[in-house]
């Protein structure tokens, strides 16, 4: 049997079995899900060779599946993260209701993403894309919170994206008479000068999943409201599907000459590129600003995800070798550290009952391993050396400064990534440091099955920080597949055009030594004379705080900043979309009044329509 089918079959069987077993025990169900994903990953990385393709017909439509180096990059994210997240969710989902539905959709999301990676034709691509959409929809509303608002919003935006994609697909079929992606690329279907609509529509479709402005409004609540073990996949892997698509299209919007160098016949593709880059940058800035204001750690992470995806979009949109490489690198690393962070949030949620930073704090002693993961991941997220996040940002900045032609863009990206320090700090400080709360006194460390994936991810982050080349290798191969020539990379040395270079191993070693030294010093000092006080252990002007009063330092954490940036928060994209929605709804409510309920009126409609047709008959039906 063909490995492609076998992998999908294993996954589908896993979905079905875990659905059936969900009624019996959530642990068994989760184990089945984990085993199926893990075995599919093993099969994938051992059995499938790059650049193998199979073709089979479905009616008149020729379908093609295959795996190339480009898809391989994303397979790494999807399957790696998928296995870890499913392992993680065994404990996370324990004692919850309807776990059958959860695991069914969970595995189905993984399946569809693997399917997307396999798809070499638009039809299977779209089919898997839609399966991914609706199965993730069912997970988003899994927690039964704000079902209508979150679910419907997610579905509307997904549908906007999917249907623009579908429009583009049928247009490709109409113009080039092919459903195969490779044929379409060959025929120049993505070429902006050939047809403006196709690339734009496709980009809209992918931008929705990549949560790019102004199509991002579904994301914050969707990310924060789904079960955390799924958000790991949702934010870490699923959004990367949008990145995958965007990369494919953006590379090909120019006309190429024989040496595969872009010819620039007019400015329109550049305008498209610039627009997208600007949108990405603005997304990053705005999402960062919103992330600062969140009290809920999950929401903070959700906005941060959007911001990170903004960087990736910028990188893809710039479209040079370096920037695309940076973007893809960031995509993988973002998958790892955001996965780790959402796992942390999930662990905190499971153990402490909430992730609201005004209610939970000082968990460092209760959950040391979780804290360690959070620390590592936050370092990566903030882009501080020596971890993977730094490498990606470095490359992105370099390409922005040298190749983007727009310093405003650079300023925006810089602004947002420095502001990101603020929320990174807050996440770490809010949840793990500071005073302990009464409510979280009895919190224990998360179970081992949750710790293991988190630690694996932290280790991965450290490794990619020291040896980014591990990731450069598949990325470079993948980029060569989609049309870049001679992508060069080095195992751990980052260079720039001015000839300076950094060896990540040295950076890494230095920092780790400093870190360990500081850690030992602080621990020793801490052992001696630290006094722990509860938040209620104060008196203000002689008044003793009431029992229920919340006096955590977390409340209004960035109040001065909020005051300064108030105008920014006044008008959000969310509101604009809501206004459009309610406007349309009232319009529809008006038009449906045509059905007055009076049978006679309907009869008059019939006669009026008849007369109208009779009046127009000679123009309408002449031949």
């Amino acid at each position: 049997m063909n490995s492609f089918f076998l992998i999908l079959l294993i996954l589908l069987a896993g979905a079905a079995i875990s659905f059936a077993l969900g009624k019996i025990s959530s642990i068994i169900s989760g184990t089945v899900a984990f085993l199926s994903i893990a075995s599919a990953s093993v099969l994938f990385f051992t059995q499938l060779k790059n650049n193998t393709y199979i073709e089979f017909p479905l009616g008149e439509i020729q379908l093609q599946w295959g795996i190339d180096s480009f898809g391989y990059i994303f397979a790494l994210i999807v399957l790696g993260l998928g296995s870890l997240a499913s392992l993680y969710s065994i404990s996370y989902m324990q004692n919850k209701e309807r776990t059958g539905i959860f695991y069914f959709n969970f595995v189905l999301v993984i399946t569809s993403m693997v399917g997307i990676i396999f798809s070499q034709d638009f039809i299977s691509f779209f089919i898997f894309w839609e399966i991914m959409t609706w199965s993730s929809y069912l997970l988003i509303i899994f927690n039964k919170k704000d079902v209508k608002e979150i679910g419907v919003k997610y579905m509307i935006f997904s549908a906007i994206g999917a249907y623009s994609m579908l429009t583009a697909i049928v247009m490709i079929k109409g113009n080039y008479n092919t459903f195969l992606i490779s044929d379409a690329i060959q025929a120049g279907a993505f070429n902006f000068t050939n047809n403006e609509y196709i690339p734009i529509l496709l980009l809209i479709g992918f931008a929705v999943k990549a949560a790019t402005m102004p199509l991002h409004v579904w994301a914050p609540k969707a990310y924060s409201n789904s079960p955390m073990s799924f958000t790991v996949i949702f934010s870490g892997a699923m959004s990367k599907m949008g990145v995958l698509g965007m990369a494919l299209v953006l590379v090909r919007i120019f006309t190429f000459n024989a040496n595969n160098e872009a010819i620039l016949p007019n400015f329109s593709p550049i305008i498209l590129q610039q627009t997208l880059a600007w949108l990405g940058a603005i997304t990053a800035v705005i999402a960062t600003l919103y992330a600062l204001m969140q009290d809920d750690a999950k929401k903070l992470l959700a906005y941060s995800s959007i911001a990170q995806l903004g960087y990736i979009t910028v990188g893809l949109a710039i479209g040079t070798k370096l920037s695309v490489m940076a973007a893809l690198f960031l995509a993988i690393v973002h998958g790892i550290f955001k996965g780790a962070l959402f796992m942390v949030a999930g662990a905190v949620e499971r153990q402490a009952g909430t992730t609201d930073m005004t209610k939970v704090s000082g968990l460092i002693r209760k959950m040391p391993f979780t804290f360690f993961t959070a620390l590592i991941a936050i370092i990566a997220l903030a882009g501080i050396p020596p971890l993977g996040g730094f490498v990606g940002k470095w490359m992105l900045y370099e390409s922005l400064i040298t190749e983007s032609n727009s310093y405003f863009l650079v300023i925006l990206v810089f602004f947002s990534s420095t502001s990101a320090f603020l929320y990174c700090y807050r996440f770490l400080f809010g949840l793990f440091l500071g005073q302990e709360e009464e409510a979280t006194k009895d919190v224990k460390e998360a179970p081992i099955t949750m710790i293991i994936p988190m630690l694996i991810l932290s280790v991965l982050l450290m490794v990619t920080g020291a040896y980014p080349g591990i990731l450069f290798d598949p990325i470079a191969k993948g980029m060569e597949t989609i049309g870049f020539n001679n992508v060069t990379w080095d195992m751990s040395v980052l260079g720039n055009i001015w000839g300076n270079s950094v060896n990540m191993i040295y950076v890494w070693l230095t920092i780790v030594i400093v870190f360990i030294a500081a850690f030992i010093f602080l621990t020793l000092k801490g052992l001696k004379g630290t006094r722990y006080v509860s938040t209620k252990d104060i008196s203000t002007s002689g008044e003793i705080p009431l029992e229920h009063e919340n006096l955590t330092f977390q409340i209004n954490f960035f109040q001065p900043f909020r005051r300064a940036a108030a105008p920014m928060y006044k008008r959000s994209m969310d509101k604009i979309w809501n206004e459009i929605g309610s406007g349309l709804e009232s319009l529809f409510n008006f038009t449906r009044k045509i059905y007055t309920g009076n049978g006679q009126t309907y009869a008059i409609f019939v006669i009026a329509f008849l007369v109208l047709m009779l009046l127009l008959k000679d123009t309408l039906f002449l031949n």
């Binding site: 008059i604 006669i607 009026a608 008849l610 009046l615």
Partner: protein, 239 residues
């Protein structure tokens, strides 16, 4: 406002109807020479006498050439009866409170209807038995018989049209019709095919299956129309 709009519409409808029918001359011969058989009407007029031995061409068309329509038509009536039954359905518990809509008629009326009823029924039967020879046929005869039943229904308070009888007549007539059709299919290969010998023109026994079908139609229509009347008359009047 609505009235004005409707009147404008009606004027336009009238204009188009007049326009259309001004192109269709009244009384014009559109059949042409019947022996040329340029259209169905010519074919029917030319062939009915020989091929079906039915004097009344309309009957030949209704029962034989377009017998399928007639089957559909009696089905429509049948379904109307059934539908009426379901629309005006009463539950069993209401059944006792049925009240005839008319007060008991005077004995003069009662006697009159009792005498008239057989006569009307006979007339109806005559009409549909001679359907293939003279004007009239199953529908007309059936409707006439139903009128007779109507007389009885309104003059006698407790005259029940006899559900069992109605069901029998209706079902048997319908089954006869379809069975004759299926017999044709079985023996000659086409539904409702006239399998019996034609006989002599203008004889009572002529036209093969045509009179049989028309008689069945007559009974069926009579039963169905009576059924409709029965249902409608059985409604409990509003106090």
């Amino acid at each position: 406002m609505r009235k004005v709009f409707v009147i404008i519409l009606l004027i336009l409808v009238g204009y188009f109807l007049t326009n259309t029918f001004s192109l269709i001359t009244f009384g014009e011969n559109r059949i042409g020479n019947t022996s040329e058989e340029k259209n169905v009407a010519a074919y029917y007029l030319n062939n009915t006498k020989e091929k079906t031995s039915v004097a009344n061409v309309v009957t030949a068309i209704v029962v034989n050439y377009r017998g399928f329509d007639t089957l559909g038509e009696v089905t429509v009536l049948f379904l109307a009866t059934t539908g009426l039954g379901s629309i005006l359905f009463r539950r069993k518990e209401d059944e006792d409170q049925i009240e005839r809509i008319s007060k008991p008629s005077s004995s003069l009326v009662q006697t009159g209807s009792r005498i008239l009823f057989p006569l009307i029924a006979l007339l109806g039967i005559y009409v549909f038995i001679h359907g293939h020879l003279t004007p009239g046929g199953g529908f007309q005869g059936g409707a006439i018989i139903a009128t007779g039943f109507l007389l009885m229904l309104i003059s006698y308070k407790n005259f029940k049209a006899g559900h069992t009888m109605l069901i029998w007549v209706e079902s048997l007539a319908g089954i006869t019709f379809v069975t004759i059709g299926l017999w044709g299919l079985l023996t000659s290969g086409s539904f409702l095919e006239n399998t019996l010998p034609g006989g002599e023109l203008n004889n009572l026994i002529s036209g093969g299956i045509i009179p049989i079908i028309y008689i069945a139609v007559g009974f069926k229509v009579a039963a169905e129309l009576t059924g409709v009347l029965d249902i409608l008359l059985n409604i409990k009047p509003k106090k």
